[in-house]
Amino acid sequence: MLTFLARRLALGILVMWLVTVIVFIIFYIGPGSADVARALAGRDAPPSTVALIARRLLLDRPWYVQYGHFIWELLHGNLGFDYYHDEPVTTIVAQGIPITLSLIVGAAPIWLLIGVLTGMYSARHPRSFLDRSFTTFALAFYSTPTFVLGVLLILLLYYQLTIHGIALFPGSGFTPLTQNPFEWFRGLVLPWLTLALVAAATYTRLTRSSMLDVLGEDYVRTARAKGLSERRVVWRHALRAALTPILTQFGIDVGTLVGGTVITEQVFGLPGLGWTAVHSIEQQDLPVIIGIVIVASAAVVVANIVVDALYAFVDPRVRLH
């Protein structure tokens, strides 16, 4: 187990290193990188100021010195400063993380529950009316763009309700959990639904096919031959075995979403990581973009390691070396 974790960790570090290389290359050759100093100095600044800024940012030094400095600072938890307000990137990222995490923490159980329950029902009653309905709904939500679904939810559950005097949910904005848990919850219900309904489709289909496979397995027949109740056969025997691929998908989705809730945050005006990323891209605020890319990649890497380690707990046949 420890060797396994050490190996996965080493692999994760390798991936993170590759990410820094790619990010650095983009920074080095990307648009606007040539005259960062000029842009920072302002349009009317004299050449001496520009040169000073370039020297302070090591922009006049060779690429390997710049890269070395970048890695060194990164290892010390310093992601640099944003171009416009001279704010540390770590602060900017740290402001976005709780919002994005709040989104994921609420949406993940919803889509998992919807997906697994409908998928299980579909697998147990294939070709039934409800199975076909679930499949249709899943496909519909799956193919609905997030911005359409989000706006639709705002229209129906915020706008229509509010003009009829039922102000259940706010249309946008974020209240920190520590400040007011109830407002936090109220403000996030619609974004959660938006994220979850789109994601649940994948889980409905995944659970359905996985359960259908498992229900045909010999050990499920053995469980029935023991005289177990159908409920126990399905929940204790079949679901246990069908869970592995679902778990994999779940881990990867949660990791990916750390940098991937862009549209939902945009629609609901939640200044999370995705929202911040979009704004930094619009302003070509490279240090912030790099910071978010690194944090999001780290999330994906960590999620993958956690999923692999969880395998060993779920399936005793998996030997971790």
């Binding site: 397995e217 010999d218 050990y219 027949r221 053995t222 469980a223 029935r224 031959a225 023991k226 005289g227 177990l228 109740s229 159908e230 025997h237 246990r240 075995a241 779920v314 399936d315 005793p316 046949r317």
Partner: protein
């Protein structure tokens, strides 16, 4: 009264290709403490017939009667059927690796079988019973192995675990569906020996479903030969091996190593079993039968008793007297065999 009496069992499946008639009017009986062998090739309906009787053939149309301990299984509710399964009837299957849940410890799985029918048994008591059972079926160091997972056992040991689980509540009937097919020959012999011992100790009746006449010879008291969902012949095991009547049984015997017509020569049955969809009228074996005449393809022969041999019945129009049958064989079967040998 027989322990299990199956009467005119019919099993049909709706498939995309049409209605599959897997079992077509099969009747047989198992006396308590006896072993009934059901022989047949793949698709003969040998597994489906017992599975359907105990409610395992999901999505099948099942008709007929299956009286177990005097009650019709086919008329039972799910709840009543569950009370029978595991408690009164144990089952073991072909592949002991896939038949055990890969993610639960074997002890847990045996305990579950014990407590499924009696919640009052404590987990601790069930566990020591599980260890006892594992020792009884010949698993070394059961105290230690009870917490192992199925993949940590060899094929033979896994089948022993399956047997321990099936026998946990000392059922009156054990259904063994090709239990030795996936095992090495030496392990096969050990498993058959174990089943024979358990049958003696617990007085359990066994239905042994197999395609292997060698297994039948080892363990069965009575035999039913199935072909294309119908019974071709049934007899006490000695009668079947020494005085078989039906040409299909004859073909099975000829294709057995060492009991073939000529020692050392395996004579396969030419051709393929008929399609289970839209079966033709007449004897299903007729297209592959050496003795078949025009009348065989018109009407299926009745399953009739052989005079002088109680419990021996055959669904073939061949002469019922042994001497007449032997004469027919001499004239038709022997030259044919010689031709086949020369052909190779």
């Amino acid at each position: 009264m027989a322990l299990l009496e199956v009467l005119d069992l019919q099993v049909r499946f709706d498939t995309a290709d049409g209605l599959v008639q897997a079992v077509r009017g099969v009747s047989f009986a198992v006396e308590s403490g006896h072993t009934l062998g059901i022989v047949g090739e793949s698709g003969s309906g040998k597994s489906v017939s017992t599975q359907a009787a105990f409610g395992f053939a999901r999505g099948a149309h099942v008709s007929g009667r299956a009286l177990f301990e005097g009650r019709d299984l086919l008329a039972m509710s799910d709840r009543e059927l569950r009370a029978v399964r595991g408690a009164r009837v144990g089952m073991i299957f072909q592949d002991p690796l896939t038949s055990l849940h890969p993610m639960y410890r074997v002890g847990w799985q045996i305990v579950e079988a014990i407590r499924a029918h009696d919640r009052s048994v404590t987990k601790r008591a069930a566990r020591s019973r599980a260890i006892e059972l594992m020792a009884r079926v010949g698993i070394p160091q059961p105290e230690r192995r009870v917490d192992d997972y199925p993949h940590q056992f060899s094929g033979g040991m896994r089948q022993r675990v399956m047997i321990a689980m099936a026998m946990a509540l000392t059922p009156s009937l054990l259904i063994a569906d090709e239990p030795t097919t996936a095992l090495d020959p030496t392990v096969q012999a050990q498993i058959l020996e174990l089943l024979r011992e358990l049958k003696e100790d617990f007085g359990t009746a066994i239905i042994m479903i197999t395609h292997d006449l060698g297994v039948i010879a080892e363990i069965a008291d009575d035999v039913v030969v199935l072909y294309a969902g119908k019974i071709m012949e049934e007899a006490a095991v000695r009668d079947l091996f020494y005085h078989y009547h039906h040409p299909y049984t004859e073909g099975l015997m000829a294709s057995l190593p060492s009991t073939g017509v000529r020692r050392g020569e395996l004579v396969p049955i030419d051709g393929q079993p008929p399609s289970p969809i839209d079966p033709l009228p007449g004897c299903p074996f007729a297209p592959r039968c050496r003795y078949a005449t025009a009348e065989c393809t018109i009407e299926a022969p009745q399953l009739l008793e052989i005079p002088g041999e109680p419990r021996h019945r055959s669904a073939c129009v061949l002469p019922r007297e042994r001497a007449a049958r032997q004469a027919l064989r001499e004239t038709r079967f022997a030259p044919a065999t010689r031709d086949m040998v020369l052909d190779r």
